[in-house]
Symmetry: C2
Subunit: 349 residues, 2 copies
Amino acid sequence: MVAADKDVLSILSTVSANHKVESLASTLSQLKRWMGSDLAEVEAGLTKIEHRDTPVHDSARHLLGQKGKRLRPLCVALAARVGSGFDAAARELAIAVELVHSATLLHDDVIDLGDKRRGIDTARVIYGNAGSIYAGDWLLVDALRRIARVGIPGLLDKSLSVLHEILEAEALQLANRGNVRGTVSDYFRIVEGKTASLFRWALFAGASAGGVCPEHCLLLESYGRNLGVAFQVVDDVLDLAGNPEVVGKSLFTDLHEGKMTYPLLLAIERAPRLGEELAAACAKDALCLSPQLERHLTAVLWETGVVEQCLSLARVRSAEAIAALGSLPTSKARAALEQVALALVHREK
Amino acid sequence: MVAADKDVLSILSTVSANHKVESLASTLSQLKRWMGSDLAEVEAGLTKIEHRDTPVHDSARHLLGQKGKRLRPLCVALAARVGSGFDAAARELAIAVELVHSATLLHDDVIDLGDKRRGIDTARVIYGNAGSIYAGDWLLVDALRRIARVGIPGLLDKSLSVLHEILEAEALQLANRGNVRGTVSDYFRIVEGKTASLFRWALFAGASAGGVCPEHCLLLESYGRNLGVAFQVVDDVLDLAGNPEVVGKSLFTDLHEGKMTYPLLLAIERAPRLGEELAAACAKDALCLSPQLERHLTAVLWETGVVEQCLSLARVRSAEAIAALGSLPTSKARAALEQVALALVHREK
C-alpha cells in the first residue's frame, strides 16, 4: 500500500460509525451560522487591537489578519454557551486565548526561521525578527491584561500556570531537537504542555464566564485536554503524510526543525535503519532530506501502520473528549462540542 | 578640549557640592553591609530558580549567574525598608523585578545580535537564539507568578501595565531605528517606557510590601521614575563617551544597533554634517563606523557641550528623585535612596 492509495482523509472518514462526521470546514461553517455573532465579535476584537505604525504592531496585525481556524476562541464560546451564554466577558477571554496562541506562533516563527504560515509570508519575513519577538511579548501581555480586566477569581493565576506549562514544554522540545532517540513519553509531555494546556484553559475560561458549576468546568477541562492531544497528533501526521496542497505548506517541516513527533518516533522504532539515516541527516548543520530518504520515510509511515496507529490514537482521545461531556445536560452547545471533537480528527488541514 | 582631558567621571564628580558623593560601586558595597542579608537572599533566590537540563533553563541561568548590579532589587529592598522592612514578600518582588529585567535583556540580545554582556559571551551565543527567546518568555511568566503569589491587591495589574509600557517603548524604539531625524521627545518617551517604568514599579512594589501609606508610595514612585531616567541618560552617555575598559564593552553599541539616544540626537542637532555622515552610515545594511566618523562624533560630543548637557540633565533628574523623598520621615532607608540617586549619576560603568 502506498500513500497514493490510502490518504489520511480516507482513514479519518472511518472515524466513527455512530456519528455523522462532517469535515472540519463544514462543521465550523455550520457552527458559525448557529453561533451568530459570537465569532464575528471575536474577529472584530482581533482586528481592532491597538495599532500604531511600528514594526511590532504591524507584525501582530499581520498575523492576526490571516484568519486562522480560531479553534481556541470557538472552544471558549461553546463552553460559555454550555452555561449562561456568550457575553462580553467570554468575548474578551476568547480574544485573549487567540492572542496567546498568536504570541507563541510569532516566537515559533523566529525560532524555526519559518518563512510561510497559512500560505503567506510570515511577519518576520516582512517586518523582521525584532518585530515578531516584541510583538509576541506584546500580545502575551495584552492577553493577560484582558484576562485581568475580566476579573474572574483565580483565572489569571490559572493563565500564568498554563503559560508556565507551555514554556516548560517548549524547553523540553528544544532539548530534544534532532534527537532520533527521543521518547514517546517526552512527546506526550510536550503535547500536553504546549497544545493541550491552552485548549484546556479555553474550555475552563469559557465555562467560568458562563457561570458553569465547578464540577462541569472540570469535565469541560478534561474535554479540552483530550481535544488538544487529538488535534496535535493529527497535525503531526498531516505534516508527514498530508496532502501539501491542501495543508497549505510543504511536508516534513517538523522534521526540518528537528521536532521528533509521535509518527516519526514510531517510524524510527519500526525501521531502525531509517533512524540511522535520519540521525545522520540531523547531525548536519542544515538538515537536507534526500528524495530517497523522503521516500523511505513515507513508505515506513504507511506500510508499517504508523499513520493508522497515530490516527487511531487521535480517535481514542477524541472519543475520550466526547465521553468527558457525558454527565453534562444535553444541549446544542454540548452537541456542537461533540461535533468539533469528531471533525478535528477528520480534517485534512 | 578633548576626551582625554575631561572624562565623564570627572564631570560627574562635581555632581553635588552638598552631598558626599561616593562611587556607585562603593555605595553599593556600603549598602550591602547595612542591608545584611536582604540582597544575599535575593541572590540566593535568583540562583535557585527552577532548573532542568534544557537550552531554555541553561540560558536563563547563564544570564542570572552573571551578577549584574541588581539595582532594581536594591530599590525594592530600600522601599520596603522605608516601611516595615524587608520580608519574604519583598524578597519575592525583588527577585521578580530582576527576572523581568533579565527577560528583556535575553530578548534584546537576540534582537540586537549581542555577543557580549558584562564582558562575557551572551546566552544566545552559547545556547542559541531559541533558548534565549523562550528563556525570556519563561522568566517573564515566572516573575508574574511570583507577583501573583505575593497577592498584594492591584500589584499584578500594575505589573501588566508596566510590561505594556515597556513593550510600547520597545516598539517605538524599533520604529525609530536608524532614524537620525528622530526627536528628543520620542527619546524621552522611550526612556520613560522602557527604563523608568520598571524602576517606578520596583519602588512601588517594595513600598507596598513594606506597608508604606499610599501617599508615600506615590512619592517613592516619583523617585523611581526620575532615577530611571537619570540612570538611562548616563548609560547612553557612557556608551558614547565612557572608558570602554571600565564599562566592560565596546563603545557605540547603541549607534550600531541604530538606537538614537539623547547625546547622539544633540550631537546631530549641533553638527548637521555629522548627521548626514551618520545617515549615510545607517543606510547601509551593516553599519560600519569609519575611524574618521568615530573621531568626528567624539569631538562633537565633547566640544559642543553634549556630554555636559546630558550629565546635567541626569543630575537634575537625580535631584528631582531626591526631592520627591522630601516629605518622607528621615530614616536610614531614605538616606540610602538619596545616596543611590547621587551615585547613579556618578558612575563610570
